[in-house]
């Protein structure tokens, strides 16, 4: 065996991702330049921020000592709107997304239907809930009905896409076996597709219920009803203890929904 000082005494880890030296340096410089430019674009009014610190402290105090009572009427009204619109929009959204999801599955439907359904999904997914809400509020007036429509529309895009992807991935063997028995298209859906996709559909619906509640807290900001409107008012009036109460309520409901849906999903599968 050679003595150890016959070996190099220097080792550096070779670069793992960008092995080309010039590229590596170039990209590092580009990142640095971007960070400097982006940092320069922030204009901070430090006086305003310093003023804000005191408010921030009040907000944290409000969060720690929430005030549920003085705005209870508004909070409960907002909550009822949020919860009802969450449930109704999820139900309607699921009901509509099932045919659209089946229509958007390449292996089950003719080309024109497929394109139309995929188009609906793309539109629904591309626009954010809040932007859809702005339009629905402009069209249907203020209040939870516009919120309900918004969430239903968003649910369709979300669920139909996942459902369609799922159906496209089902085992072709099972579908062929049913087809071979001479089944009609409806029987095919009922026997081959439904059993494979159903548990996942229930799971996704529960997940979407959870998302819809969170979103229902947001779209109120643009007038589509729900707890978001109450929160917006509370913050506008600098009532941080009420705002804290609302936020805590949202957090608790989201937590309950998450645990609850996890439980139901386990029960179903």
């Amino acid at each position: 065996m050679r003595p150890s000082d016959a070996y190099p005494n220097y080792w550096r880890k070779p670069p793992q991702i960008l092995t080309h030296r010039q590229w590596r340096i170039g990209i590092q410089l580009a990142i640095l330049a971007y960070l400097i430019l982006a940092g320069a674009s922030i204009e901070v009014d430090w006086q305003r921020v310093a003023m804000g610190l005191e408010r921030g402290q009040r907000f944290i105090m409000g969060f720690l000592q929430p005030d549920f009572s003085s705005r209870w009427r508004d909070i409960s009204q907002g909550l009822i709107e949020s919860l009802t619109m969450t449930l109704t929009s999820t139900v309607i959204g699921v009901i509509i997304s099932v045919p659209i999801g089946i229509g958007a599955a390449r292996n089950l439907t003719p080309r024109p239907v497929y394109l139309v359904c995929r188009g609906i999904i793309a539109v629904s997914r591309a626009l954010q809930e809040i932007i859809i809400a702005i339009f629905f509020v402009a069209m249907f007036g203020f209040g939870p009905f516009a919120g309900f429509l918004t969430l239903s529309f968003a649910t369709i895009g979300f669920l139909a896409k996942l459902l369609a992807d799922d159906i496209e991935e089902i085992e072709p063997g099972q579908a062929d076996a049913i087809r071979a028995t001479g089944a009609t298209w409806w029987q095919l859906i009922n026997y081959a597709v439904q059993p494979q996709v159903m548990p996942r559909l229930i799971g996704l619906s529960l997940y979407r219920l959870d998302i819809n509640f969170r979103e229902s807290a947001v779209i109120g900001i643009v007038g589509a009803g729900g707890i978001g409107a109450t929160l917006n008012t509370a913050i506008d009036r600098y009532e941080y203890d009420s705002a804290g109460a609302i936020l805590l309520t949202i957090i608790v409901i989201v937590m309950l929904a998450e645990y609850g849906s996890g439980y139901i999903r386990k029960l179903v599968q």
Binding site: M1, S4, Y7, P8, W11
Partner: protein, 256 residues
């Protein structure tokens, strides 16, 4: 060199994995530990470097009782014990060199290990060991790009980088084919002889154990039921270790 006295381990579930085990391994001895699955082989060697906390007893390495040590001094004692694993346990996404150098982690301060700037004599030693196990040209490859046999060689080099006084080897060949297994066992025994290193080798392949070990200890249900020369293993002793079975085919193979 290593003295184990009255070592017991009871798991939280109440399972008694080791019952008052006494064992001593002198310098330079390569000892095979055999026994059925669940006999406590793996627990025994992990109790030595306290990857598993023993319930009671003594583990003397030189004249330090490892069982009594605080966490901090345990770390510096662990440096004296090299360990080689069944599934190689390499850090898959790091290079071979980093894996070998990780054997020095107990010696270097955090900033050196974080920046991968190990002292130059550590690097020389790592190169030397990689050359010894025949992997010098692979040193900048990622560990997950190597074959099973090569990975186990890296595992051996890592354990040796520690400059250990004892090797613990846990099923070194369980994931390897028979030919590679023999190559790895040969490498291990050669290295131990070169350095006069004692080793405890967990192994469940009895013929392989007989071929390479200087001494065999049989463990059954947490107790030592056999301790002697590999030649002394016969039908009767195997039955004592593993239970009733027709041993003849495996005996014939071993004599080939």
């Amino acid at each position: 060199m290593l003295e184990i006295a009255n070592l017991s381990k009871v798991y939280k579930t109440g399972d008694k994995a080791l019952i008052e085990v006494d064992l001593s391994v002198p310098k330079g001895q390569i000892m095979g530990l055999i026994g059925p699955s669940g006999a406590g082989k793996s627990t025994l060697i992990r109790c030595i470097n306290r990857l598993v906390e023993p319930t009671s007893g003594k583990v003397l390495l030189g004249d330090v009782d490892l069982v009594q040590l605080s966490n901090r001094s345990l770390r510096s004692q662990r440096r004296r014990i090299g360990m080689i694993f069944q599934e190689y346990s390499l850090i898959e996404r790091l290079t071979v060199m980093e894996n070998v150098l990780s054997g020095r982690l107990g010696y270097v301060p955090f900033w050196r290990s974080w920046t991968r700037r190990f002292p130059s004599q550590d690097i020389q030693r790592a190169y030397q060991l990689l050359d010894r196990v025949g992997l010098l040209e692979h040193c900048d490859k990622r560990a997950d790009a190597l074959s099973g046999g090569q990975r186990q060689r890296v595992g051996i080099a890592r354990a040796l980088t520690q400059g250990p006084e004892l090797l613990l080897v846990d099923e070194p060949t369980a994931s390897l084919d028979p030919k590679t297994s023999r190559q790895i066992m040969r490498l291990l025994t050669e290295i131990c002889t070169e350095r006069n290193l004692p080793a405890i080798v967990n192994i469940h392949d009895v013929p392989l154990a007989q071929q390479f070990m200087q001494r065999i200890v049989g463990l059954r249900a947490g107790k030592i039921v056999f301790d002697g020369h590999p030649k002394a293993l016969n039908e009767e002793t195997l039955t004592a270790i593993y239970g009733e079975e027709d041993w003849n085919p495996s005996r014939e193979e071993a004599e080939l």
